[in-house]
Amino acid sequence: MSTPLAEGLHARPAPEPDRAPVRLVDQFQLGLDAPICLTWELTYACNLACVHCLSSSGRRDPRELTTAECRALIDEFERMQVFYVNIGGGEPTVRADFWDLVEYATGHHVGVKFSTNGSRLTPDVATLLARNPGVDVQISLDGATADVNDAVRGSGSFSTAVTAMERLAAAGFTGFKLSVVVTRHNVSQLDAFAAIAARYSAQLRLTRLRPSGRGADVWDELHPTADQQRRLYDWLVARGESVLTGDSFFHLAGYGDPLPGLNLCGAGRVVCLVDPVGDVYACPFAIHDEFLAGNVRSPGGFAAVWKDSDRFAALRAPDTGGACRSCGLYDACRGGCMAAKFFTGLPLDGPDPECVLGHGEATLTSRDAGGRAEVPAPSQDHSRRSRADHTALGAGPGRTPTRTVERVPVALVPRRPDRACDESPLTGLRTAHGPR
């Protein structure tokens, strides 16, 4: 698994007592002195090999941050008042020091939400988690039935996740998250996912399939079709705030009313990603040299990377809108997701690959018509080396074959992403001024 995203958090702008409303979005656009929250992939090691893993996890990186370094980083988050971290991986619980680090963080004013496939969630662990109010848990499940889930996440992973949810519920942990990456094959199961969440007193969270990491290999086959996206949008609108999305689907806002959320890309502005070896990226979906801002082991540590990185400075610069600027729906979707564009080889100032008007699809078609896909080559990959891993864990009757794309490195200048990504800590935020 590897979708450690930000929310579970319901942001509310309390108080705007008596003066001209401050547009928080404008403040956030320019970046804050410290992240509100961040994603921390604690390890690239994973006992699963999900076909769409956005961090291409599998093998542990020998350069992984040590326990002492992790603690020092938590201390730094505490000093900067980073309120919470979304811990993922890889499968973070395979680190022997994982539970200690969770305790350490929550004891140092850094809240924790962690994503897990549930494999290490024993009854004793569930009891401990239920007792710690500073911890939230997110169980990853990508099918409401074993066949659909296991085709993507590996044989037995459905049963593992369900067992973990049973244990959390039995321990009295209510309101944990059931986190689903929406695909072409599970989008018809939304009601079933909601029923599973309700059964365990959990909250359903749907996020967008990104073409990041190994997701790039399967995105063409797994991302929802245009018709499915429309139905997904309608379903989300009908459900309102009862279903979390991490602001994932803002690119669908052009269909009509905006979905709950603030519609701001927080990448490098109010959120970021720290990877297992301490590299700092703009967001969890952008693990690529193009979005690498620095490393926490360098002088000045994380704070210096956050404050001084040229890459982050570029993300915080004012917005131009590019090719999408003249579109009537630009205010709604603001060009979509930076990472989704980058990893499908689309220009960052053009339409999202899943643009509701079909502009992205048209661009992709012309991209592919060139005979080879100009998709950025991954700059790191911790997948287990044998493709047999996928065959063993991920293959099944319903599994579509992995597409092999001839990858040609392209140099893209990161311009400002205009939209909220899944990392937005602003999910649920409502303002009187709408999601601008």
């Binding site: 108080p15 007592p17 928080l24 309120f83 004013h109």
Partner: protein, 100 residues
């Protein structure tokens, strides 16, 4: 923020002693402050520096109304601050202080 008040916001009692919830962290920002509640995992935005000043002085003031006055909030502005404090109280960011 919704234009309609939550009932708790409308009922906020300025004459009682209040305080920041012990599990809430405030982080000063150019627009005011971010407030994060570690138990409910809720984030709130204090969208003015004056409001931040009020919230910061709640614990040392005999009543919330006194905290407002200490922060320079006059009678004309007081209703808006009462509503804002009510919103914070409704989400548990501030809580009534027990007599010491």
């Amino acid at each position: 923020m919704s234009t309609t008040l939550d009932p708790p916001a409308a009922a906020f009692d300025l004459d009682r002693p209040w305080d920041l919830h012990p599990r809430v962290s405030l982080r000063r920002e150019p627009f005011g402050a971010l407030a994060y509640h570690f138990d409910t995992r809720r984030l709130s935005f204090l969208k003015s520096l004056d409001l931040l000043a009020v919230v910061e002085s709640l614990g040392a003031s005999p009543t919330a109304g006194e905290a407002c006055r200490a922060a320079g909030i006059d009678d004309e502005r007081l209703p808006a601050y009462r509503r804002a404090l009510g919103t914070l109280a409704a989400s548990g960011m501030i809580c009534e202080r027990r007599p010491r």
